[in-house]
């Protein structure tokens, strides 16, 4: 090969490396961007009057006087809709049997769509489920529902080679020649007067508990559960890990036992997280019976053994990086070994140890598999500190899965899911960021 080609290869090789790194960076952005943007929209969004009604009656928040005014205004805008409906019903009674049948089904669809948009119709009995008590809380959802009201989705099966395609037809055409035709343009035109959207900063998303399994309300029980589980795991794993690291670095003599313990540590680090879940179920709950069934305690213990190897490794590294001279100086002054460790080595290694601890805390907060069988429940309110020994808790990680995959109205509450993922990622990345800052300060401190 001539030199030109060799150089070309060299460049291509470099480009390949840069490409890989760029893809990794892009992936990070691709994953984070939608989660952050849509996650924020769980808190900052255009809320409708229905949202304010909900807040007032479920959480007792809001100004009664102004809310009543708003309700009056929106009712005024809605009245024609309900009038048109009853007018059409009256008209229906005059039609012949066939027509009645035909329109009845379609009218029901229209009614359902209006209920989804504006809440229960006047004169109806109070719905049992909270989710049916209010119309759309969020403006962008309301716009979706409006589209469902105005257009009917149909499927095109004409081409058997490909999957059916959806298309939309206007509902108004179905009611051509009746009084109900007017309803659709009216709703389309006056929707904002009926729902009165305005920008809100719904901080309650973080601090409220959920209403009717996350259809309304916030994610506080999950956030609290995540903190309980992660901090609980830390409480067990951190002291244990640091002491084990002290043993490995300061006391262990190379030999069979030490190498066995080290292999055990790396084995534990490689155990799949779901196996920790199985172990937690089989050991902590079924054998030790730390609690009747799932509990925060069992989950914390399971998470603790999962993060133990990470903490040990980080602490070991931090302790080993403390200069040997500190040890000599302290011992030379007549300090005992243990005293030297406590007063000189641990303080010098502390930033490194804390870095490892903080990263492990983030891992414990984000991990799902170990708590599925040991601690997590899908719905529940925030538990008190006294209940951690006996009761399970909702947790961000588990509830993200649950809401996204198993909730009966998963598609309706995407914003809650995004908000949860955003909250979880914020917690974890914030912890990692503080770890990075901590680490940057280590070198500074050691340099003086």
């Amino acid at each position: 090969m001539n030199l030109g080609t060799r150089k070309l290869f060299d460049r291509a090789f470099t480009a390949l490396g840069f490409g890989s790194i760029a893809i990794m960076g892009m992936m990070l952005i691709i994953v984070l961007a939608p989660i952050v943007s849509k996650g924020v929209s769980a808190i900052v969004f255009r809320s409708t009057v229905e949202h304010r009604k909900m807040l007032y009656s479920e959480f007792h928040r809001g100004n009664r006087v102004s809310l009543e005014k708003e309700i009056a205004a929106s009712d005024a805008a809605r009245r024609p809709v309900y009038e048109m409906l009853s007018e059409f019903e009256a008209e229906l009674g005059l039609m012949d049997e066939d027509k009645q049948q035909e329109y009845k089904a379609k009218l029901d669809q229209v009614r359902t769509a209006i209920k989804a948009l504006l809440g229960p119709l006047p004169g109806e009995s109070e719905p049992a489920l909270t989710r049916f008590k209010y119309g759309q809380n969020r403006w962008e959802k309301a716009e979706e529902k409006l589209k469902e009201l105005v257009y009917e989705k149909q499927w095109d099966y004409s081409n058997p080679d490909i999957a059916a395609k959806e298309y939309f037809v206007s509902r108004a055409t179905a009611f051509e020649g009746t009084s109900l035709v007017r309803l659709f343009p009216y709703v389309e035109k006056n929707i904002d007067k009926m729902l009165l959207p305005e920008w809100t900063f719904y901080w309650g998303f973080i601090t409220d508990s959920s209403v009717d399994s996350h259809i309304f309300g916030g994610i506080w029980p999950e956030i609290q559960g995540t903190f309980f589980l992660a901090l609980g795991a830390m409480l067990f794993a951190f002291p244990l890990g640091v002491i084990a690291a002290i043993y490995f670095t300061e006391y262990a003599r190379e030999g069979f036992i030490t190498s066995l313990l080290r292999s055990a540590n790396s084995t534990l680090a490689g155990v799949p997280s779901i196996v920790f879940g199985l172990f937690g179920l089989a050991f902590f709950i079924n054998t030790l019976k730390v609690s009747e069934s799932k509990s925060v305690l069992a989950g914390s213990l399971t998470l603790a053994i999962m993060i133990l190897p990470t903490i040990i490794r980080a602490a070991e590294e931090a302790i080993l990086s403390v200069p040997k001279t500190y040890r000599e100086a302290s011992l030379g002054l007549g300090s005992t070994k243990w005293n030297t460790i406590v007063t000189v080595i641990l303080p010098a290694a502390l930033p490194g140890i804390l870095t490892g601890g903080v990263i492990s805390l983030g891992r414990a907060a984000g991990e799902t598999a170990p708590i599925i069988f040991t601690a997590a429940v899908s719905v529940g309110s925030a538990i008190g500190l006294a209940d951690v020994f006996s009761s399970p808790t909702p947790a961000l990680s588990w509830n993200i899965y649950n809401l996204a995959s198993e909730h009966e109205a998963a598609a309706e509450i995407r914003h809650v899911q995004y908000g949860m993922v955003f909250a979880l990622i914020s917690i974890v990345l914030m912890l990692n960021l503080s770890a990075i800052v901590l680490r940057a300060r280590i070198s500074k401190k050691l340099k003086g």
């Binding site: 994953v31 043993y247 084995t267 680090a269 799949p272």
Partner: protein, 389 residues
């Protein structure tokens, strides 16, 4: 004025560093006791590892006692809730294998090139900013990746699958093809000794090969574009996401291995007139190969043991895709099965349905143990080789 040692002690000067026999004994005892306590705490990890093996095995054994080994490993009938039930886990094991291999195919080349880039190409100042990116990628919780896969990537694949595949094909393959054309035409024309003739042949070859390559690009691209992806929750989706979860491990462990090779070897190679690529490929990679192998094993382990992503985005259908390499079909993995079926099996503790999940856990545990053991041996051996022992 000079005195001997005996005179000194007879003068009764303080010998404050000598303690009584009893005190010394107590010191020794407390020291031993302290160290034993520390040892006990340090062996906690080993005890836990033993317990994990013990308890998972204890709950796995009843399954094999009830149903034997054959069905689990050879049948693809996974109907644990039916009567009579079927506990054939072959398709599930295959699903685990499939997504692991898929993610490895993506993560290994990317991870190794990125590690090389980090250790040998990028200047230190830039590296400071790249490392946090990798750390952040490692820190993102798996359930967030799973959510991304389910809610964002799956619909994308389902709706625009063909187009996405086509563009991926173009972007990835065209640079390689271009490189191949240049090198091939050069090599083929190198034999001709006459300068003028060679140049002409070179141009001719470039053009012909270029046309062929373009044809290939468009032909395959078109084929790909016409592919309909029936469901977005499939093995491809999961493989992509898992590869990004395995990447940080692969990158950081291989980078350590590359760094451990040391400057002497690099400088030796550069001094002989090798380009950077040649230095890396011919000198550094062989020296670091075992460390990189360990990195790959550790990375793959992450993909194999991952639960949430596969549970949420693999489609969870336990059958072997047809043809066997069809990544566009749904699959089901061991981890997802354990996570998903335990909820229902929970109430019937004691039945095969409960214990079969522990059998799967045991299988995962054993595989991860073996992989871990191998990678650890490799790392130890490499350290020995590099330090010249």
């Amino acid at each position: 004025m000079i005195m001997s040692g005996e005179e000194l002690s007879s003068q009764g000067r303080s010998s404050a560093f000598v303690v009584s026999a009893r005190q010394r004994k107590w010191q020794k005892i407390s020291k031993t006791a302290g160290e034993s306590t520390l040892l006990l705490i340090a062996s906690f990890v080993a005890i836990i590892v033993f317990f994990i093996f013990f308890f998972v095995t204890r709950d796995a054994v009843p399954y094999f006692q009830i149903r034997g080994f054959k069905e689990f490993f050879t049948s693809t009938n996974w109907y644990p809730a039916d009567d009579p039930p079927g506990f054939g886990a072959l398709a599930i094991i295959y699903g685990s294998l499939m997504v692991t291999v898929g993610s490895a195919l993506i993560a290994i080349p990317m991870g190794i090139t990125a590690a090389i880039c980090l250790s040998d190409v990028i200047p230190f100042s830039v590296r400071q900013y790249v490392k946090p990116v990798i750390e952040m990628l490692a820190a993102i919780p798996s359930v967030a990746f799973g959510f991304f896969a389910l809610v964002i990537l799956a619909p994308l694949l389902q709706n625009f699958g063909g187009t996405i595949l086509m563009w991926t094909w173009w972007v990835i393959v065209s640079p390689f093809l271009l490189l191949a054309i240049i090198v091939a035409s050069e090599l083929l024309s190198a034999k001709v000794s006459d300068e003028k003739k060679r140049k002409r042949l070179h141009t001719f070859l470039s053009v012909v090969l270029g046309i062929i390559a373009l044809g290939l690009l468009f032909f395959v691209g078109n084929k790909l574009q016409r592919i309909e992806i029936l469901t977005g929750t499939n093995a491809l989706n999961v493989s992509i996401i898992l590869s990004f979860m395995a990447l940080p491990t692969i990158v950081s462990v291989s980078e350590d291995a590359l760094q451990a090779v040391g400057r002497d070897l690099r400088e030796g190679s550069y001094a002989l007139g090798a380009t950077r690529a040649e230095t890396i490929v011919k000198t550094i990679l062989p020296a670091a190969s075992s460390g990189i192998l360990a990195a790959v094993i550790l990375g793959i382990m992450r993909a194999l043991g991952e639960t949430m992503v596969v549970w949420m985005a693999s489609g969870n259908s336990s059958h072997i895709p047809s043809p066997w390499f069809n990544y566009l079909e749904s699959v089901r993995t061991l981890t997802a099965t354990i996570a998903g079926d335990m909820g229902e099996a929970d109430q019937v503790t004691g039945s095969a349905r409960f214990h079969v999940l522990f059998a799967m856990g045991l299988l995962l545990l054993v595989i991860s143990f073996i992989c871990n053991f191998i990678s650890e041996r490799i790392i130890v051996r490499q350290r020995k080789v590099l330090s010249g022992q």
